[in-house]
């Protein structure tokens, strides 16, 4: 049910002027002036090409951009797109609304879903305003499974450089798959489509107010879709746009993704504790694509960050992980760069120990997530070193092997979960 308190009067008025729609496209923006125009043009081109008869609306949920992003969204002329001699049979309204002062992905998603619920949209598509590689076809690939095949969540699959998306490949995908039993490649998706059923159900989720709901709503959406037995599928979109990230962004990314995933385990224990194996989900297009473009990575620096983390954070790690794991991490930290290896089984055990400690709140939960950052760097280094000169297929095999390790280690998580110490 739409949360009308979230929608201001002006926004509500504009939504009522639009009336019911078939497809709602949401853009959660915040200072995206540099990339937003091509994204909106690609969306408009996609609508003209694939959905000329449908009633479509574009909603920009903005976090208070200072660079005029909402004006750019509403100002992109559809005439530029119509130059390609394809015409829509309906008008294409574009509405921008400001949900707050500052980026908050949870509130942005909630605003978009509330609008979709209010306008009774059959499909709601959320696209990243940073998707510089977006193509008009993306819309079709995301919407058609909901429109034609009655799916409820269409999650993306991207083509990535083999060293990009390491957190996704080494933690989020293997852990989500092992815990919830569905092989969803992008549990934290920046582009996805959902049905009206799932949107309404997810809106009534009670977790919007807490940290995970505010920062990791995308993960919670995936988890809700799995645990509530909605129909899921994946669609191959194309290249994942490269993004400049700093070290500080990694901590924030871990909070949004790993923190939200850990947090979801508490309320869904009954569901995941009985799952032993994972099932693949229907994928439209390629299962995964890896490019081998060379990328400069400073391995020595990554090792140094891991070693410093293990040494300096020892008093923080001690209540989180077991003595055996801590000793193993100290052994790994003593290895030279050439011999450095953070094995998959140790990594899976470490992550599960962190998840169990997060559940028991042995220290502040945010601190638990932050303490995982240097250890993740050690695992990322191992992943990159192992796959430095391997083919795309071998990268995929290694990811598959890690997923298997997470699944095999799941009883260990249950054991740690039940342990009252």
């Amino acid at each position: 049910m739409a949360d009308e308190t979230l929608l201001n009067d002006d926004f509500l008025r504009q939504l009522m002027n639009v009336g019911e729609v078939d497809i709602l496209i949401g853009l959660p923006t915040y200072n995206n002036a540099a990339t937003i125009e091509p994204v909106v043009r690609a969306i408009q081109a996609g609508i003209l090409k694939c959905f000329p008869r449908e009633r479509v609306v574009i909603i920009d949920a903005d976090g208070g951009s200072q660079d005029g992003t909402p004006d750019l969204v509403t100002g992109v002329s559809i005439d530029d797109v119509r130059a390609s001699r394809v015409y829509a049979l309906r008008t294409l309204p574009v509405i921008a609304t400001r949900y707050g002062a500052g980026q908050d992905s949870g509130t942005a998603l909630r605003t978009i879903l509330s609008a979709a619920d209010l306008l009774r949209a059959r499909a709601c598509v959320v696209l990243s305003p940073e998707s510089s590689t977006i193509e008009p076809d993306w819309l079709q690939r995301l919407v058609l499974p909901i429109y034609k095949e009655d799916f409820d969540l269409v999650s993306p699959i991207y083509r990535r450089q083999k060293f990009a998306g390491v957190l996704m490949r080494n933690l989020l995908y293997p852990m989500t798959r092992a815990i919830y039993g569905r092989g969803i490649r992008e549990p934290y998706a920046s582009e996805f489509a959902i049905s009206s059923r799932l949107a309404t159900d997810f809106l009534s989720n009670e977790k919007w107010g807490d940290q995970a709901g505010r920062n990791g709503a995308e993960i919670l959406l995936t988890v809700t879709a799995i645990t509530s037995k909605y129909r899921l599928c994946q669609a191959f979109l194309g290249d994942k746009p490269p993004q400049d990230r700093s070290a500080a962004d990694l901590v924030e990314a871990m909070r949004r993704t790993v923190g939200a995933l850990f947090s979801s385990l508490d309320s869904n224990f009954q569901f995941w504790s009985s799952i032993a194996n994972s099932e693949p989900i229907k994928t439209l297009g390629s299962e995964s694509e890896v490019t081998l473009d060379p990328v400069a990575v400073d391995f020595a620096r990554m090792r140094e960050m891991f070693v410093t983390g293990v040494a300096e954070l020892e008093p923080v790690l001690r209540p989180i992980i077991s003595e055996a794991t801590l000793l193993e991490l100290q052994r790994i930290a003593a290895l030279d760069l050439s011999a450095f290896r953070y094995p998959a089984d140790t990594w899976a055990r470490t992550v599960y120990e962190f998840a169990a400690s997060y559940h028991k709140a042995v220290i502040s939960q945010d601190h638990i997530v932050q303490a995982l950052v240097p250890l993740y760097r050690g695992r990322a280094l191992t992943f990159m070193m192992e796959n430095q000169s391997t083919s795309a297929e071998d990268v995929e095999k290694n990811v598959e092997s890690l997923c298997g390790e997470f699944e095999r280690s799941k009883p260990y998580l249950l054991e740690r979960w039940a342990d009252r110490k």
Binding site: G165, V166, K240, D244, S246, V297, T308, Q370
Partner: protein, 237 residues
Amino acid sequence: MWTLWTLIVTELMRTLRELEEGIAHYLPRVIEMLVIAILGWLIAYLVKAAVRSILRWSRFSKLSAHTGATQLLNQADLPSTTELLSRFAFWLAWVGFVLLGVSVLGIVGLQEYTARFFLFLPRLFGALLILFFGLLAASFFSRAALLAAVNAEFRPSRLLSVSIRIFISMFTLSMAFEVLGIAERTVMIAFGTAFGAVMFGLAIAFGLGGQDLAREFLEKRLAQRAQRSREDELSPL
């Protein structure tokens, strides 16, 4: 001679009577005091059991582990915080009842001490509360600083964390002493002097003693950070 003997016996009888009257006067009060003390012991025991149950139910030991109090107690070979607090509650309640019993005796000096003791209790609780939350804050913020510093590749992360813990603990202690009314001015002056000295020392060390190093350090960090981050941090998602 006979008259003297009669006088002595009369005086003895009078003293004996007075003693009897005194005993008759005080004995019920002493019994009353003993009854209050025994009843107080029973109530204090119940209070101890109740406090222990409440602390166990509210997982207080976890909270005390967060503050670092558990480690401190373990090192000093003392019982757990839950046990310590429940024993404290027992003794506090029992001493309170004993003093109440003593006041029944009607001894003027003791009554004054009893009144002082009861007036001191709120301040004692206030100081303990400040100490507990102060230690909690010291532990939380020092850990937060350590994590932020390590993840931002700030070298002296442990030093920063320990400094924050010491500073907050000192601040908490000075506040607790102020609430207790123990050496208020001395503690305040000692705290102010120590804090000022540390800050002044750091400023001199960084700004004067190591100005070249400071310049080089800041230039390196600020100029290279953006470039290094872009080189090394591929999008994790």
